[in-house]
């Protein structure tokens, strides 16, 4: 089944390079996530909920 990605007639270079690029990319994003401050993450996650006017809140409650 994996013949289609293992025997590429000398073109493995493209595949391996691409996979490396992706792996490095993934690791960099991972490190970045690990070093993020919790307060910032919480703040950012709550942005959509912090944009309401009082009137809007009321309308929503009425709808519920």
């Amino acid at each position: 089944m994996f013949k289609q990605i293992t025997s590429l007639g000398g073109n493995e270079w493209y595949l391996i390079t691409s996979l490396w690029i992706f792996l490095v990319f993934f690791i960099v994003v991972g490190i970045m996530l690990y070093t993020m401050r919790k307060e910032h993450v919480d703040y950012m996650g709550n942005i959509p909920l912090n944009d309401e006017n009082q009137e809007e809140e009321k309308a929503k409650e009425d709808n519920e």
Binding site: F26, M32, M36, R37, M44, N46, L49, K60
Partner: protein, 701 residues
């Protein structure tokens, strides 16, 4: 002490895009229902050239993608961006230009496509003047978006905005690169790429139109609207960061999975497969992030139709993004490709993911900007169930049809001949499934009509709050140095765009540059010559009539295909094909080896009325080809344009093109006359026959 600033959100532009979404949704889906009926009863082609399947299938796809989904995107973006950035849109004038410009483009598409003005690239059929308009309006949207980001009162850009930025920048790149054309006249052009390279560019575009028009903006909208609807923050903000970057990075590589087993170089196909499989991870990351946002809010799902729509939308997204990688496995693709499976797959995405999320947002947003309640929650709930049934009735018969037909194409008798040598037998077998698909489509459309009535009544009940007052502190200069790199990035929109651009360019460059630069990737064949003047005109008629919507022109290297059609297709055979016409669906048989298979008279009869030669055929009749005249005067300019993009026509060939065309046409007309058919040599059918008889014959010389 920070100063609170007063400002207004622009709700009118959101409302306008919302209405456009509903109107074009009704139009696009109605056309979809019509073409579904055409695939069962050809009488629905109305024997009019403007309403044949080949010409209006692009009307359906363009209307649904760019008109319905497009307007829904702008509605969602304009609503959410103002709020997460705490500012009004940058310019009301640009918002208006964007809105009206987009509607005029849609109108232009709705007029030109039935007239046969098409470039033939799927989902990019619009001819060059409209392409330019699309780019201009897209830039207007971009300026308005970045202007809004610049004048924001929220320092960091929420995840929704990243998805909008990636959408803007990637669609711009995709659309421009896939639209490099040499104009011949006001509504005719040739792509600068040919054959294999054109195919690679088109499916790099086609796949990423799905990624960056149907997916990323909707993910952005999910990240805003789902927390609002559930009244709780997104499950994991960190996951959204990982999801975002890996999604935009991987998606761009996956295009070649549309071209498996074709003459595209093997290594590009393999890259497409590998990255398609990797794509499951970020796609499901997004889906899981959405579904888990509802943790603790599932009781609301029971009563709130907007959340019901969202749950099914996310589930459909999960199914489609699992199915996509599976379909890109070569073994699955061998059976599923060119069948209704692909149609089912795309509709799970379009009806489930895009459609249902759009409906959820409309139901949520319209009452809010009209300061009222939804007219009928019960109707919305009925819409949900009718729509869900519609999706099931659509998708399940199509899967069934696909497996039946895919296996029939491949079945051999014990003696070693094709079990179903007549392609038509496999088409007729699945007509009952096509009827059920039309029922599914009708149900889905009925739900949308109910929604329209519900929303119109809601609008009547309330009053639009065109300018919604809001207040937020002004953004003060940043005094601290932020530790997290991503946090810094979240407040630098220009840098964010540039990095997104680099991320999405990598895949395209790695796949395309070698295919374009290294000649061994497209081995030439000495006997393959450019089309004659008459064949060229015939090819342009083939494009105009949209034959590519039902017929492929690429024989895959399977025993079942070489036994049915002949020698498998080679890259070198397409080097003069501007554009490539490999197609993506076999409603009718492949035509790459049709040349010389039947006499001229067969083609004449078949185009006049397909049931003469193929009883029961669902192909429309093309009687106007017998009466309309070939545009001979355009021949020279067409050949000259093709010379610019590399077709080696000599001066002599161009100068004598009209005489050559007439000579070849006369020979075909004479041949038809010997068979008892009298036809003018300048009738369009003559050019069409010349082209069909040339197809795939060069390697036999």
């Amino acid at each position: 002490m920070m100063q609170l600033e007063q400002f207004n959100y622009d709700n009118k532009i959101v409302r306008d895009f919302g209405i456009a979404t509903i109107v074009w949704g009704l139009v696009g889906m109605s056309v979809g229902l019509l073409i579904a009926l055409q695939l069962v009863w050809p009488v629905f082609n109305f024997e009019l050239q403007y309403t044949t399947f080949g010409r209006i299938r692009p009307v359906h796809t363009n209307a649904v993608i760019f008109a319905f989904v497009g307007n829904a995107i702008f509605m969602g973006v304009y609503y959410s961006m103002q709020r997460v950035l705490k500012t009004r849109m940058f310019s009301d004038a640009l918002s208006k230009i964007h809105f009206w410009g987009w509607q005029i483009i849609i109108l232009a598409a709705a007029i030109t496509l039935p007239l046969g003005f098409t470039s033939s690239h799927e989902y990019a059929e619009l001819e060059w003047p409209i392409d330019i308009a699309v780019v201009l309006i897209w830039v207007v949207f971009g300026i308005n978006m970045f202007g809004t980001i610049v004048k924001r009162r929220e320092r960091h850009m929420y995840v929704a905005v990243w998805f909008y930025i990636a959408t803007f920048v990637t669609i711009a790149v995709l659309y421009i690169v896939n639209s490099f054309q040499i104009p011949v006249s006001a509504f005719k052009s040739y792509y600068i790429y040919a054959g294999v390279q054109d195919a690679l560019v088109q499916w790099w575009y086609g796949h990423n139109a799905v990624a960056f028009f149907l997916t990323t903006p909707f993910l952005g909208m999910m990240y805003y609207f789902l927390p609002k609807m559930a009244n709780r923050p997104i499950y994991s903000y960190k996951l959204s960061i990982l999801h975002f970057w890996s999604l935009i990075f991987i998606y761009i590589w996956a295009g070649p999975h549309h071209l498996l087993y074709t003459s595209l170089p093997d290594w590009v196909q393999s890259l497409g497969v590998v990255f398609s499989i990797m794509l499951i991870a970020p796609s499901w990351g997004g889906m899981i992030n959405g579904l888990l946002t509802l943790r603790g809010a599932w009781d609301k799902v029971r009563t709130d139709p907007t959340l019901k729509f969202m749950v099914v939308a996310l589930t459909a997204y999960g199914m489609a993004t699992f199915e996509g990688p599976m379909l890109s496995l070569k073994q699955v693709n061998a059976i599923a490709h060119f069948t209704d499976w692909i149609v089912a797959h795309v509709h799970v995405g379009a009806l489930g993911w895009n459609g249902f999320m759009t409906f959820a947002i409309l139901y949520w947003l319209i009452p809010r900007i009209y300061k009222t309640k939804l007219y009928s929650v019960k109707w919305a709930s009925i819409h949900f169930w009718v729509g869900t049934l519609g999706i099931l009735f659509y998708a399940i018969p199509m899967y069934w049809a696909a497996v039946v037909q895919g296996l029939m194409w491949k079945e051999f008798t014990p003696e070693g001949t094709l079990a179903y040598p007549n392609f038509l037998a496999t088409t007729l077998e699945i007509l009952p499934m096509h009827m059920m698909r039309a029922v599914g489509g009708a149900l889905y459309l009925a739900g949308v009509i109910l929604m329209t009535v519900n929303l119109v009544k809601t609008m009547r009940k309330g009053t639009l709050q065109a300018n919604e007052p809001a207040e937020a502190p002004a953004l003060e200069p940043l005094k601290v140095i932020e530790r997290s790199k991503h946090r810094r990035l979240e407040r630098k929109p220009a840098l964010f765009m540039v990095i997104s651009l680099i991320v999405i360019l990598i895949g395209g460059i790695v796949e395309m540059m070698p295919t374009f630069m290294i000649s061994s990737n497209v081995p030439t064949i000495a006997s393959v010559k450019p089309y004659t003047a008459l064949e060229l005109q015939g090819r342009d008629l083939y494009i105009k009539e949209g034959c590519v919507n039902c017929h492929t022109q690429t024989v895959r290297p399977f025993r079942s295909e070489t036994a049915r059609y002949g020698e498998y297709s080679k890259a070198g055979e397409f080097v003069y094909d501007h554009p490539f016409l490999w197609g993506s669906k076999r409603t009718g048989p492949d035509l790459h080896r049709i040349g010389g298979k039947y006499p001229n008279k067969w083609h004449f009869d078949h185009m006049l009325d397909p049931t003469i030669t193929s009883p029961g055929s669902i192909m429309p009749a093309y009687p106007w080809l017998m009466t309309q005249t070939i545009d001979i005067a355009s021949t020279k300019s067409k050949m000259n344009a093709l010379r610019i993009v590399g077709v080696p026509y000599t001066d002599e060939e161009v100068n004598s093109s009209e005489e050559d065309l007439k000579r070849q046409a006369q020979a075909i007309a004479d041949d038809l006359a010997t068979q008892g058919t009298t036809i003018r040599p300048d009738a369009e059918i003559i050019a069409m026959i010349a082209y069909l008889q040339r197809l795939g014959t060069d390697i036999k010389n």
